[in-house]
Subunit: 331 residues, 2 copies
């Protein structure tokens, strides 16, 4: 069946019926002019939004609608995680051609619902419109206790720069998809797992001075933290933890494996700063609670030292902030 | 200058700098992973979102970027007004081609900022991405005291159906633009004025049992109220207040003037219900406070009577819910 046979209101009813609720109460959800919600009394309210456009952020030839739905919510959840918060309510605006199949939209919502369920998110509103290509815009609300809120701006000289998990895996996964390489690990690009539990653990520890999610590559995120904190940084290239698909993709494509980690986007790991002596304790807790590794990849230095990277031969060079940049980079 | 010469981060900086603030406090705004806000303690939180796509919702040949920006925020403000609330924070996701002119984006934001200023809205976050055409997605937060929240579902048998202002003006304005007619009033389509003050006055009166904004034509909105309230309705065609550009456009195009009011979209007036004996008092207050007229256009009846319209010759016919419907209607 095609979307145009169902019509806008038929489609909204169909999609609303399929949405799983976590049981979080709402005063009014889908079906009124606005969603009416209980505010997060006594907490800080978090809001983030991301727009994903077919042909720019994803291709329907390499990603299934389920994966597109999953990822479009996951990238927003990752932003909430980076503030130390928990996601709550999502609003999904979606555009697609009139001759799109209803099954396509069903699958996209199914992927989004699966991600929502995994992260305790309720989808309570949105908009459906016709468009020349598939467009997904998600707004995600979240909340965090004021004392656990972590901004990008709190890094202090001497702090360690630490990452969760491994890097470069998403960009390697994209290369696997684009060049149809016989290598495992393309799901690292297609279905990222946002680090909500990890972000909560770090925020609640009270040791984390700044945090950001790695959506545009490590180099770009280090620059963001330094810019907001008024500091410089040193990154040690040989300390960067590489995802298991990176080495093989680098060999197959002739790329430098560290390039994938530094400048490839969409790993959705967390980058944070804390005093170096707190890293062992946090690592142990993180391994125990979340089975996720922590790795120190650098340290915060005075702003006059700029932002540099020490390469494998021990040479210090300036770390350029390039990463994924809309409008200047090609897909 | 082209957007691609500025790059994503340069563009975000440029746009952020131009945004006017109402002075409402934020913990973190543009520049972190999420916006961090104080929640509306003790109130109901409202959230609405709308996606507008070039070629579907607007054409750059007939609307200036300033008008596109204005309207894209106005339609969201209208949703908050329909709940009896006040808008607070907006998040703007915007997609446009790499070779778009920076001046185009500046003007679009300028229109949005003007609307934001007029309605005391703070733009505190968003996303900028490249896309094949212009896409604007706005999420707007708002708040309302629990006792003043008005839903679509509260209409009771015997209530009057009342509208603010005049109808059909937006669709008439669209016809003026599309056929280049020598008639005044195209700005009714291009720059609608959302009825925030009117919605607040109605909500605070305590008399209003249900409310909705007229975004898809009166016929469609009457159906929404009846569906959510479990009632029927009678609409009196000859009572529908027509905007000043409707008659001339109808004559020029051979259309029925009431068709423009009943089935034309985007007037963004309010439709509400209340006991008939409260209408004179509300009318007087509305005229005094907002210089806006109120007109009774029908009444709520038992659901078994369905939804009918009494035409000019006194015949009662079924009121079809057609209005603007994505996926089934052509632009």
């Amino acid at each position: 069946m095609l979307v145009k046979e169902l019509g806008e209101f038929g489609l909204i009813k169909r999609l609303s019926a399929g949405i799983v609720s976590t049981g979080r109460p709402v005063i009014a959800g889908i079906g009124d002019d606005c969603a009416a919600l209980y505010p997060p009394e006594g907490k800080v309210q978090l809001v983030t939004t991301d727009m994903l456009v077919e042909g720019v952020h994803f291709r329907t030839s390499t990603a299934t609608p389920f994966q597109i739905g999953w990822k479009s919510l996951a990238v927003n959840v990752s932003d909430i995680a980076a503030m130390g918060g928990e996601p709550t309510y999502a609003f999904v605006s979606i555009g697609f051609p009139r001759d799109a199949k209803v099954e396509f939209v069903d699958e996209l919502y199914s992927g989004m619902s699966k991600m929502a369920e995994a992260c305790s998110v309720d989808i309570v509103g949105g908009d459906t419109v016709s468009a020349p290509q598939v467009i997904v815009n998600i707004v995600l609300l979240g909340e965090v206790e004021a004392e656990n809120l972590v901004l990008r701006s709190g890094a202090r000289i001497g702090d360690a720069l630490v990452v969760t998990g491994e890097l470069g895996g998403s960009d390697a996964g994209l290369a696997i998809l684009e060049h149809d390489l016989p290598i495992e690990g393309k799901e690292r690009h297609l279905m990222p797992a946002p680090r909500v539990r990890e972000g909560r653990l770090l925020a609640r520890s009270g040791y984390v001075t700044s945090m950001i999610d790695i959506s545009d590559g490590l180099a770009s995120e280090v620059h963001h933290i330094c810019e907001m904190s008024g500091t410089g940084a040193e990154v040690y290239m040989d300390k960067i933890p590489l995802a298991d698909n990176v080495q093989k993709v680098a060999e197959n494509t002739g790329r430098d494996p560290y390039d994938l980690a530094l400048y490839g986007g969409e790993d959705y790991e967390l980058l944070f700063t804390c005093k170096p002596d707190k890293v062992p304790l946090l690592s142990e807790e993180m391994q125990k609670e979340c089975v996720t590794s922590l790795t120190t990849v650098g340290r915060i230095v005075d702003i006059s030292n700029s932002i540099i990277i020490e390469d494998e031969s021990g040479r210090s060079v300036s770390l350029t902030p390039r990463g994924y940049n809309h409008f200047t980079s090609a897909i």
